[in-house]
């Protein structure tokens, strides 16, 4: 079956919902939003805790409330929503193959917004030593089991990685009656928000082992135990520090990766955030194809994913009049104190301000951020402290950016 639309949005999470609402606001009429799940909201529906919406709604909401608020807004628009529909592939000509309940569809779109969220790093990806029994799973998967299926995957749990999902799950498991024995973090600092450490670990007396990792997993059919070890400054295991811990559940909260498979297969270039390389309008290297949310780079806050979606939605509408023929693509670069930066390019034909988002590589106190265009400092921001777990966003007004720029550099340095 065939169908033609102006804008196709892949993914109905915070970013996809933002994209749809942004596109409607900018005047688009024929919008199709597709999600493989049976309801809107993406990852939000399994994040039953509160901590969402401060920036967008000015109040603290649970994940499902944030999702339902956006879904209610969407219901007032003419956006067509297909649920239980899986996008199999897209092409540079912006044709998408979609498997839905009524069969296979070929959808031709003028623009596509790709907002498929992220994937969790697995035991294989971190080369976790030992066996692969049941009971070793990613924290987000455990969250899905517990919060959406009502299934408690273990009674005595250990958590590897201090990312927010791991911390949130430590509390959730404790509330449901499981014993959480500890959280190990290989870095000398916690990767989650301070407030999550306080309310998810300290409140339940759960120890956080910094500079520690799991050196071995035991159990043939089901997880029986793990070895917890100390690591040195370089992250190498210190022999003789092993502590044997019996447990039936090991959760991994060791990072997220943008879900880019479909975009990559279509030939889109990948950036250093591991999501698509985009320009300032969030357009990928495929003209007319945009990306936003966790599939572009991992966001700590759903609010930011949503706002980025809105930007992508507006930019996509702008592009309906015609894809820019010539894209300038001035590269953005950064120094070693910055982990990654989005966007990868600046295209001067886009009329909006340039939003630069990045994370520092290590925690920093008293530092300065400078944006340098062709050797000239165009923006300076002083910061009291910065953490890798908190994304930094700087807005460069369009008027500060000259035409024909060769380079834009973002520098993060200690302040003397």
């Amino acid at each position: 079956m065939k169908k033609t639309v102006d804008i196709l949005i892949i993914g109905g999470g915070a970013a996809g919902l933002g994209a749809a609402l942004g596109a409607v606001e900018a005047g688009a009429k024929e919008i199709l939003l597709v999600d493989r799940k049976n309801r809107l909201g993406g990852i939000l529906t399994q994040c039953v805790h509160s901590g969402f919406g401060l920036k967008v709604f000015g109040e603290e909401l649970t994940g499902p409330e944030f999702a339902s608020r956006l879904a209610r807004k969407l219901a007032e628009t003419p956006v067509e929503v297909w649920l239980n529909a899986f996008v199999l592939s897209i092409s540079p000509a912006k044709e998408a193959l979609i498997s839905s309940r009524d069969g296979l569809y070929q959808v031709s779109a003028k623009t596509i917004i790709y907002a498929t969220g992220c994937l969790e790093r697995t035991p294989g990806m971190i080369q976790l030593p030992g066996t692969r029994p049941s009971g070793v799973l990613t924290a987000g998967l455990a969250q899905l089991y517990l919060n959406e299926y009502g299934y408690l995957p273990g009674k005595k749990a250990f958590i590897l990685g201090s990312g927010d999902i791991g911390l949130i799950m430590a509390r959730r498991l404790s509330l449901e009656g499981a014993k959480v024995l500890g959280v190990a973090e290989i870095m000398p600092y916690s990767n989650g928000l301070v407030r999550n450490k306080v309310q998810c670990l300290d409140d339940f007396g759960i120890p956080l082992y910094l500079s520690h990792t799991v050196s071995r997993v035991y159990g043939n059919h089901h997880l029986e135990a793990i070895d917890l070890v100390k690591v040195d400054e370089e992250g190498k295991i210190i022999q003789g520090t092993e502590e044997h811990i019996e447990c039936d559940l090991l959760l991994l909260s060791v990072g997220l990766l943008p879900n880019v498979g479909i975009l990559k297969n279509a030939g889109a270039r990948i950036g250093e955030s591991k999501g698509a390389a985009v320009d300032g309008s969030l357009m990928t290297s495929l003209p007319g194809v945009f990306s936003a949310g966790n599939s572009l780079h991992v966001h700590d806050l759903a609010d930011e994913a949503y706002l980025e979606g809105i930007e992508a939605g507006k930019a996509a509408v702008n592009c309906l009049k015609g894809v820019p023929e010539h894209r300038t693509m001035t590269p953005l670069s950064h120094n070693e104190n910055i982990g990654y930066l989005v966007p990868s390019y600046y295209d001067e034909s886009y009329l909006g301000d340039l939003l630069i988002k990045f994370r520092c590589r290590r925690p920093k106190e008293k530092c300065v951020i400078m944006v340098i265009a062709d050797g000239e400092i165009i923006k300076t921001i002083n910061k009291i402290s910065m953490l890798p777990s908190e994304m930094e966003i700087i807005r460069i007004p369009k008027k500060l950016l000259k035409n024909n720029l060769k380079t834009i550099e973002v520098i993060l340095e200690d302040r003397l």
Partner: protein, 115 residues
């Protein structure tokens, strides 16, 4: 006794010190002051969980307390909500249970689940 704690009201996570006379320092905004005082006298936490639901879409329905709940009573709260269940359609903000354990705090539905 002097209390050292971390404000959990917003992601900034200010380090607070609450003196015996309940003066608070270290906060960056008035909400932190209120939190510090509350934490020193009657600590409370927002609680989110799930209850069973009769629905064609989902098995569990997310719920949360209408206000931060007295910390010491949270284990009892978790027991009290275990037997609860809902039937679709439900909408966010609807109360599943009122005046939980006599606190005046209600248990609210977090998500619109239509069928």
């Amino acid at each position: 006794m002097k209390l050292q704690t971390t404000c959990i009201i917003c992601p900034r996570g200010c380090r607070l010190t609450v003196e015996d006379d309940l003066t608070v320092s270290g906060n960056s905004c008035p909400r932190g002051e209120r939190y510090g005082r509350q934490e020193a006298t009657d600590p409370r936490r927002s609680v989110s969980s799930t209850i069973r639901i009769d629905s064609t879409l989902v098995k569990m329905c997310p719920v949360h307390t209408s206000a931060p709940f007295p910390k010491a009573k949270i284990p009892a709260l978790m027991e009290a909500i275990k037997p609860l269940s809902a039937k679709a359609p439900v909408h966010m903000g609807e109360a599943v249970c009122q005046n939980l354990l006599g606190t005046g705090i209600d248990l609210l539905i977090s998500e619109d689940i239509e069928r």
